[in-house]
């Protein structure tokens, strides 16, 4: 049901683009207004979410550790899994962000050798799917800069050449187009066919995957099956970035559909789980060094607590306690002697103040 709902939502978006451009001809709305609105929502949304996170206090130092902590000099520390300073944290974060290390460590419990035996083994499928998806997305996204820049940076051209390495077909099929669609498809099928995963999957899991799948397939169609005038699209893109856009009639409704789905993705992103793109930098369990014993972590919630120490208590009730025969740290005579000494001398009483 959640899947069907998401599917219907994405199909409705496609229909909306078809009706909007194919039937009603609202090119300016879909080609100019929505792209601007969506980019503003995207950027301000991300900044706003990050500032909200930045404002939330981190009460405790809570790095998750997966290796030997820094200890005695002859015990080998696991610097990446249990970082003790900023540099090691940076190393850990780089591995996390670029290589999804914590996903790589994923394990899976299985029954093997008869029902009784429980076996834990590595499970890399999710990691492979995630890596393939994220990197192909990055490359596809980056290659799109050829529409948005003039002259086109050499790195974009190089990426195109490497990506079209097999020189299959004209225009060349890019490897990443297929990896992208394949990986999104895998991540979706995984949720649909593994019962435990289906049980925990929500609309906010299916919808972004289907949206991305829609963007990928419409993009593939645009390049290879139902072509459109890409020169006109570059004119539109350059118009958008130089604030003088004109939505072209030459572009097909399928292009506007591709663009519309991208706009929806941009507007949805700051309010969805895709915000993990900023969240991964801000997760305290990853970005804090495990140096609890060396550096005191002050809880920002701490407010000055009013305390009444035992010394103060005894000062207040010493006579009465002494009279009642209760044990006291200092007898009234001692206290009086110290007091006069303190009055005369300078710091003689400081020793007793700290006693708890």
């Amino acid at each position: 049901m959640k899947f069907i709902g998401s599917l219907v939502a994405v199909l409705l978006l496609v229909l909306l683009a078809y009706l909007g451009v194919g039937v009603a001809g609202l090119r300016e709305l879909f080609g100019v207004v929505l792209p601007y609105v969506s980019v503003v929502v995207l950027l301000l949304g991300i900044v706003w979410r990050v500032l909200c996170w930045a404002k939330s206090p981190v009460p405790f130092k809570i790095p998750t550790t997966c290796g030997q902590e820094k200890s005695l000099p002859w015990i080998k520390q696991n610097k990446l899994d249990n970082p003790s300073n900023g540099l090691q944290v940076v190393g850990r974060m780089i591995l996390e962000i670029l290589f999804f290390r914590s996903l790589f460590r994923n394990t899976r419990m299985d029954f093997r050798g008869g029902e009784e035996k429980v076996v834990y083994g590595p499970s890399k499928w999710l990691w492979i799917g995630a890596i393939a998806f994220h990197y192909s997305f990055l490359v596809v996204f980056f290659r799109h800069l050829r529409f948005f820049s003039e002259p086109v940076p050499w790195l974009v051209k190089l990426t195109q050449d490497v990506d079209g390495f097999f020189q299959l077909g004209v225009p060349a099929f890019y490897i990443t187009t297929f990896v992208f669609i394949g990986a999104v498809g895998y991540l979706l099928l995984r949720r649909l066919f593994i019962p435990q995963l289906r049980y925990i999957s929500l609309v906010n899991d299916y919808f972004p995957l289907l949206l991305l799948l829609g963007i990928g397939t419409t993009g593939f169609f645009l390049r290879h099956l139902f072509k459109t005038d890409v020169v006109a699209i570059k004119e539109l893109a350059l118009g958008l970035v130089s604030f003088g856009p004109k939505a072209p009639v030459e572009a097909s409704w399928l292009f506007y559909c591709h663009l519309f789905l991208v706009c929806v993705l941009f507007m949805y992103l700051p309010f969805s789980k895709i915000m993990h793109l900023a969240g991964v930098f801000l997760s305290p369990s990853r970005n804090m060094p495990n140096n609890n014993r060396a550096v005191r972590h002050v809880n920002p919630w701490n407010y000055p607590v009013k305390v009444h120490t035992y010394e103060e208590y005894e000062d207040e009730f010493r006579e009465k306690m002494y009279a009642a025969g209760l044990p006291v740290e200092k007898t009234p005579e001692q206290a009086a002697a110290e007091k006069s000494a303190g009055d005369n001398g300078d710091d003689a009483s400081s020793g007793t103040d700290n006693k708890e």
């Binding site: 002259p151 077909g169 072509k227 459109t228 005038d229 890409v230 570059k234 350059l238 970035v241 972590h297």
Partner: protein, 126 residues
């Protein structure tokens, strides 16, 4: 422990990178419109409709190449009945005389670099 400095620096870096298309072309290039192509003087119509040529010329050339090299067929009959020799140089570049002022202007704009010219030499030697 709010790490305000680091977070703000990160946000600024993010905005600079994310708005790359906004500043790059405006600062270091020019947001030029569709390139002006030098069209053949004497002719009015391409092999097929202009729109079709814009979208499908690469596939047409690909198909021609296969038919010539693999099947030895050299004649193409267009949808309106005209006959053309299926050839890059003896056809396209006969009408579109200058590759640099026609094909390349478009391709440079779109950052496509057909490898055909590694082997095929343009008649004018450009």
């Amino acid at each position: 422990m709010y790490d305000t400095g680091k977070i703000l620096a990160g946000l600024v870096a993010f905005i600079v990178v994310a708005t790359f298309p906004l500043w790059f072309t405006n600062l270091f290039g020019s947001p030029s419109a569709r390139p002006v192509l030098e069209l053949p003087k004497g002719e009015k119509k391409c092999v097929e409709d202009t729109e079709y040529m814009r979208h499908w010329h690469m596939n047409m050339l690909d198909q021609w190449r296969n038919e010539v090299v693999r099947e030895g067929k050299r004649m193409y009959v267009s949808s309106d009945g005209r006959k053309f020799e299926m050839s890059l140089n003896k056809n396209c570049l006969k009408c579109h005389e200058s590759r640099a002022k026609f094909c390349d202007r478009c391709h440079n704009y779109m950052a496509v670099d057909p490898y055909c010219w590694d082997c095929h030499v343009t008649p004018t030697g450009e």
